[in-house]
Symmetry: C3
């Protein structure tokens, strides 16, 4: 599964699919690239040294799963709050719980090294338990897989 | 095939692919989730009882295939009209005809129960011939499938 | 691989995946449809005769790979320049180089005939080395394929 987007709605969908497949005993690898990297950023991460451009980029992009927007009906941040409220009311796990479940279920998180390079994101800025890999690592696991999605 | 988006352009693409595959004798399951649910809403559906939040959500989202917007160049509704006009002029089936063909060709429409729950959409609000299912039902059919797409 | 979008970021991702797979000795077919067709437009293409609607459409859409926008943080054209600058600085091939590599690596480019018809784009307006095909041609190659993505 390639997670390219950092929209809250698509991110939730990707983790629900990943957890569903893992619950069925399947091996799941999520490859986070481009905007998707932001999902893996640690909101409490200590500052690392960066050039100005990377710093600017870092500030303009959402820092971690709690800052994500909706792809539609975002309404200046009301939309994400609403979705999170409704999920909670319907007893559906929050995105952060889904991410924890995924880790516990053995879903492998890979951060795309080329995207990290372009966006100036360093390993220390990411949450724990993330592997760094390239497109070849993704293609390797996709090849052995029954299903591949670009989200 | 997971239909996550409710953009007119992506919806048309998904039904063209579905019909193409069905015409080649393939079994096709379309799993409508999140915004994609709106494609299945019956525009003439009678009102059902809902709480205020679900009612608001329902009013803000497109009610059925005829209300969909383009992902790009929507131009306040001119874009979709233009695309529909051009498709008609070039003798390509309209989205509604494509949907009818899909049903006749045996394409299975599944509406995601979790998304229905979150968005407060009830079965009675959907068009006929839609099954309700969860992510496990999607994964089950994806597993036996040659191809899976996230649209 | 279906390339539906003409966002710069998604286009780069699709060619990096295509080149990665080709480098691993895999056969790759990229099927360009809807907005994705614009990636294949030749910026220096001579004018062809068109009706007014097709001409308008043509003018409003990006003419070739150099005119593409980002799906997020486009900032009136600064975003794409920034991404291209950063890729260059990090010694990553530009989109145009990636496209050349793909061709050299034997990646097959197919332009969707139905989309060309709708948008009024003619074969002469596309870059060299593009095959014209329909959804059946895509499904045929997807069927024999280990992996299919909708980008």
């Amino acid at each position: 599964m390639i997670v390219f987007s950092n929209d809250l709605d698509k991110t939730i969908a990707s983790f629900i699919i990943a957890n569903g497949a893992a619950a069925m005993g399947r091996k799941v690898t999520m490859f986070f690239t481009f905007w998707g990297l932001n999902i893996l950023r640690n909101p409490d991460g200590a500052g690392v040294k960066k050039d100005i451009l990377s710093k600017m980029f870092g500030m303009m992009m959402p820092k971690g799963s709690k800052k994500l927007s909706l792809s539609k009906m975002n309404m200046a941040g009301i939309g994400p709050k609403l979705i999170r409220y409704l999920m909670n009311k319907k007893n559906i796990s929050s995105l952060e719980e889904l991410m924890d479940q995924a880790k516990k279920n053995g879903v492998i998180f890979v951060a795309c090294n080329m995207s990290m390079d372009i966006m100036g994101i360093k390993k220390e800025e990411l949450i724990d338990g993330v592997t760094i890999g390239g497109v070849a690592s993704f293609l390797g696991s996709a090849e052995d897989s029954d299903m591949s999605l670009f989200i």
